[in-house]
């Protein structure tokens, strides 16, 4: 048991992705090209903020990186290169929170811990919810939670399963000021451990890092 803990402790800080490169990306939705020839690169421990007006393709870019949308053109590579899909190394927080209303917050988080954690759990669901200030509603069915609380339960996914790349689509939606600070702390801690964050946002998240501005399609 002790050995296992020590091993995990050493393995922890070394996320397997050192550099992520996307070149010449273009995405088509419904016969219309959203954007073309978008390139960026991020190193471990860095973040990229994707900004732009509504409809510029911020969400589509994140979905494409998560493997949920096909690319029309371009390629995504990472170092050290491997055969795995980027989707299996990334967390995706989309517009919907992926919660089942009839399950409690803990049960919801537990499922994603098992499904996304590849056999190991970084932080127990209870502890992750406590970190996000939700300990008191952990055993309530998710249907009874407010929009901001649901969002925080969704964010708890990031803590229970360890994945190097975080793809966050408007992570601050519905969060109050205190939760936003908490969310920023969690993101900073992920970057501090050598993770990467790509976030699409309208409100400033205070991540620092580079900015990728997408323009509305003509």
């Amino acid at each position: 048991m002790i050995n296992k803990t020590v091993l995990h402790r050493f393995g922890l800080c070394r996320f397997s992705i050192m550099r992520l490169e996307a070149s010449d990306l273009s995405i088509e939705r419904g016969g219309r090209i959203l954007f073309a020839r978008v390139s960026f690169a991020i190193e471990a421990g860095a973040s990229l903020t994707v900004t732009g007006p509504n409809g510029a393709g911020k969400s589509s870019l994140l979905r494409a990186l998560a493997g949920l949308l096909p690319l029309r053109q371009g390629r995504i590579q990472w170092l050290p290169s491997s055969d795995e899909r980027l989707a299996e190394k990334a967390h995706y927080i989309g517009h919907s929170d992926a919660l089942k209303g009839s399950l409690t917050a803990v049960e919801n988080v537990n499922l994603w811990a098992a499904m996304l954690g590849a056999g190991s759990i970084a932080l127990s669901a209870q502890a992750a919810l406590a970190t996000l200030g939700l300990a008191h509603v952990a055993d309530l069915p998710a249907a009874y939670l407010s929009a901001g609380q649901k969002r925080r339960v969704a964010l708890a996914r990031l803590l229970v399963a360890e994945r190097p790349v975080w793809l966050l689509d408007e992570p601050s939606t519905a969060l109050d000021l205190a939760s936003l600070t908490l969310c920023q702390k969690i993101m900073a801690s992920h970057l501090g451990k050598g993770g990467m964050i790509i976030a699409a946002t309208h409100a400033p998240l205070g991540l620092g890092g580079a900015e990728l501005r997408l323009n509305a399609p003509a």
């Binding site: 992926a98 994603w112 908490l182 801690s189």
Partner: protein
Amino acid sequence: MKPEHVTQKSIGPSPLCALFLRELRIGRRIGGGASLGVVFFLILVTLTPFAIGPDQALLARIAPAILWLAGLLATLLGLDRLFQSDHEDGSLDLFSMSDMPLELIVLIKCVAHWILTGLPLVAAAPLFGLMLGLSANQLGAVTLSLLAGTPALTLVGAIGAALTVSLRRGGLLLAILILPLCVPVLIFGVSAAANDAMVGFKTPFLILCALTLAALAGAPIAAAAALRQMME
């Protein structure tokens, strides 16, 4: 508060096991799933004598067909939500990002769905058979044939559920897509259930088992492919 990533890392439960338990929990908690299908089955079976008239001999003769048709319709019930609810709340996106193959996830969901809807039908079949005046010999045949055949219905239905995943009113389209594909299962299911002197029980029952095994092998692959197409 700092997340204590380091100290609490431990081996979690198997992803498939967690998914299976989640499906069962959701099915039981919504308070429909299992019981609703059986009640629907019961209503169909009790309606038949009203429609056909109280002719005991006739009822007993067509009882296997009635039970099978009722089973088929009860299986269709709720199948349209198999992937749709996960599609709507974004869970399906996350499933495709896990390191489990989507085919396996589809299979687990089908197994859980069958346990919630198909298995109660099988358990209730002897009772409903009695109501239609089946002999003891045929009661066993009907129950066994439903046990062997309903998984195939669920699995084939999963393909339709995957194809209609992004449609709001996919239920009717699902039925239209799936019912023709269920014809072979229905033919051999009823023929095994009838257990008459000419065909016997064994041959149609074995063909029924073969159909279920074929569906078990093929349907998850087809449904996963359909899901990948429909998800974007």
